[in-house]
């Protein structure tokens, strides 16, 4: 990336002044070294997003930003329906409501290590993972509709989950405004046997050791203690979300002309929020969010079953569950005025600061947990939302390390066996149905998550709380 095209606001904030058809500036939060490493396409995509109608304040990119479809991955943009604002299927992505949840185990590293191999085998056997895997839960039409409306609440009512989980999930486990009627038969069909499945690619289930604490008080309020272990699950709305993304992207591309929206890139396809298409997409997308919340709740339940058998201790309280591919209606302070905006976060995590009304009582003093997934080797981070992130990027932070190498390039660099052996030598057991999949997800194919997280903290997007080192990784 040529940094001469930016105005440097600080060491971690870079502004692109509006030019051409841009309606707002672009802002990238990153250290200079991360910015230089970013693909030029990120610049192009950030500026393209700034051209969309109704954009408020700026088009943002997080420190882990990389080339996406239309919006960059790591892109954040808010639109005002009263100002002709739009909703974009490309601004949410194909894996609607992909996200991360972390369960506390209360178990020490030594307790996990004593059964590490058996636990890895049991998790791999019990949680459906990989391409073509199926869950045991079949959904008829009525149950599918109930799931799309009820989200994690639906899962809980069917016996998958614990009542106290709901307070620890965004929107209390169920987003309002889902419209199951807007979900096509094909999308439903793709989901029939996919409830409670992890998927493939960068999705995973990990048992992680809390290896480092950066903020003792916040960590304690989250239930994180150094030396103890957590389980983190990363997955989304599976085939249903993929199909919704596919169908609405096509429909929005074809319909853009009728709305008089000139797109610099077809993939930015969007519709006015107040149009029939915009409302229909929002209804379907919210149904997909509920699908993702239900899916992660079920996988949490399956994980508890394995821990109950291995340790006679399957409570695994949910620390938090947060999505990073969404468009949500939120109230934000714009120049002293509270405005209702549709905030797109594509590969970006919501990061509400302390006292936010949507947080459960126990988390309000500390701010929302922000879960940052790293690679199999580098580990993950827990951050906390902070007040000033509201003004920085509508209370948003990064979501992961971000790829630095294509999947194809990774397979030319490493073999799956080589990666498994190297990680095992570091004390990390990886279980996966595909050696090629492991090679494509090699730790070296990702940016250094520590640099990304440090950059997010220095940018004022979120605060570092804990570092999680993987001990077991179940990979799709």
């Amino acid at each position: 990336m040529d940094i001469s095209r930016f105005e440097k606001i600080s060491d971690t904030e870079w502004r692109i002044a509006p030019f051409g058809a841009m309606r707002a500036p672009g802002v990238i939060y990153a250290t200079e070294s991360l910015l230089v490493e970013m693909d030029d396409k990120v610049f192009e995509q950030v500026t393209n997003v700034a051209m969309l109608p109704g954009i408020v304040r700026a088009s943002y990119a997080m420190p882990d930003a990389h080339w996406g479809y239309g919006f960059p991955i790591g892109g954040v943009a808010a639109f005002d329906p009263k100002a002709g604002g739009v909703v974009s299927a490309g601004g949410v992505g194909f894996d609607v409501s992909c996200g991360v949840r972390t369960h506390l185990t209360g178990l020490s590293r030594d307790q996990i290590i004593s059964v590490q191999e058996e636990l890895a085998d049991a998790l791999y056997a019990h949680v459906p993972v990989g391409v073509g895997s199926e869950g045991d839960i079949g959904l008829d039409t009525a149950e599918m509709t109930a799931m799309l409306t009820g989200g994690a609440k639906w899962a809980l009512e069917r016996g998958w989950g614990r009542p106290e989980d709901l307070g620890r999930i965004e929107e209390q486990g169920c987003v309002d405004g889902a419209d199951p009627a807007a979900v096509s038969d094909h999308a439903r069909q793709r989901q029939r046997r996919e409830m409670g499945t992890l998927g493939s690619g960068n999705h995973y289930l990990e048992v992680q050791e809390i290896a480092e604490i950066f903020d003792e008080a916040i960590a304690a309020s989250y239930g994180l203690a150094r030396g103890e272990c957590v389980v983190t699950i990363h997955c989304g709305s599976r085939g249903l979300g993929h199909q919704i993304g596919t169908e609405f992207l096509r429909e929005m591309v074809i319909s853009s002309e009728q709305f008089g929206i000139v797109l610099p890139d077809r993939e930015l396809a969007c519709a006015p929020i107040n149009s029939e298409l915009g409302q229909r997409y929002l209804g379907a997308m919210r149904a997909a969010i509920n699908c993702a919340l239900a899916n992660r709740e079920i996988i949490g339940h399956l994980t508890r079953q394995v821990f109950a058998r291995s340790f006679r201790h399957g409570e695994l309280p949910l620390m938090f569950d947060v999505s990073h591919n969404t468009c949500k209606l939120e109230t934000h302070d714009i120049d002293g005025e509270a405005r209702e905006l549709f905030v797109h976060r594509k590969g970006a995590t919501r990061a509400f600061g302390p006292s936010h009304a949507s947080l459960p009582e126990a988390l309000r003093p500390s701010g929302q947990p922000v879960l940052i997934g790293g690679s199999m080797g580098a580990g993950s981070y827990v951050m906390a939302g902070i007040a000033k992130s509201e003004q920085k990027a509508f209370s948003s932070a990064c979501h992961g390390a971000g790829r630095r190498m294509s999947r194809h390039a990774a397979t030319r660099m490493w073999s799956g066996r080589q990666i498994l052996d190297a990680l095992r030598a570091q004390g990390i057991i990886v279980k996966s149905p595909s050696m090629r999949g492991v090679a494509e997800e090699a730790p070296g194919a990702y940016k250094d998550v520590r640099v990304v997280v440090d950059s997010a903290e220095a940018s004022g997007l979120a605060k570092k709380v804990a570092y999680l080192r993987p001990l077991i990784c179940i990979k799709g």
Partner: protein, 126 residues
């Protein structure tokens, strides 16, 4: 992940693009051609037809838990008649690397680079 197929006609380029897409998932030499799926599509432009073709295959693979290893495509007046040949996916035998979520409009093109050499390409989300 980008996929690209070349052929003397758009239909042949579509077949090759489909092979490229399925090669992202599994080693094609391991796929037995035991079952056949028929797909019929219509679109106003060739590039939209490519997106629809790839997405129809993605849907069939997900819905029928299949992996494909060969394709036959005919295109006439914006209408595509395709056949996909493959088998039920096996985690053990195919060791599928990644599932394809859908075809995107990024780098989407169906063009005749020179007489009788068509290129059909797009980026797929995995």
């Amino acid at each position: 992940m980008g996929i690209r197929g070349f052929g003397p006609t758009p239909a042949k380029a579509f077949e090759q693009a489909a092979l490229a897409m399925t090669a992202v998932i599994a080693d094609l030499s391991l796929v037995r051609l035991e079952k056949e799926i028929e797909i019929e599509l219509e679109a106003p432009k060739l590039d939209l037809l490519l997106i629809d073709w790839i997405n129809a295959l993605v849907f069939e693979m997900a819905d029928k838990r299949m992996v494909f290893g060969a394709f036959n495509v005919d295109i006439e007046n914006g209408r595509l008649k395709g056949r996909a040949f493959g088998e039920t996916i096996s985690r053990e035998r195919h060791a599928p690397a990644v599932e394809v979520k859908g075809a995107t409009f990024t780098e989407l093109a169906v063009v005749e680079d020179r007489p009788a050499l068509w290129r059909a390409q797009c980026v797929i989300d995995v």
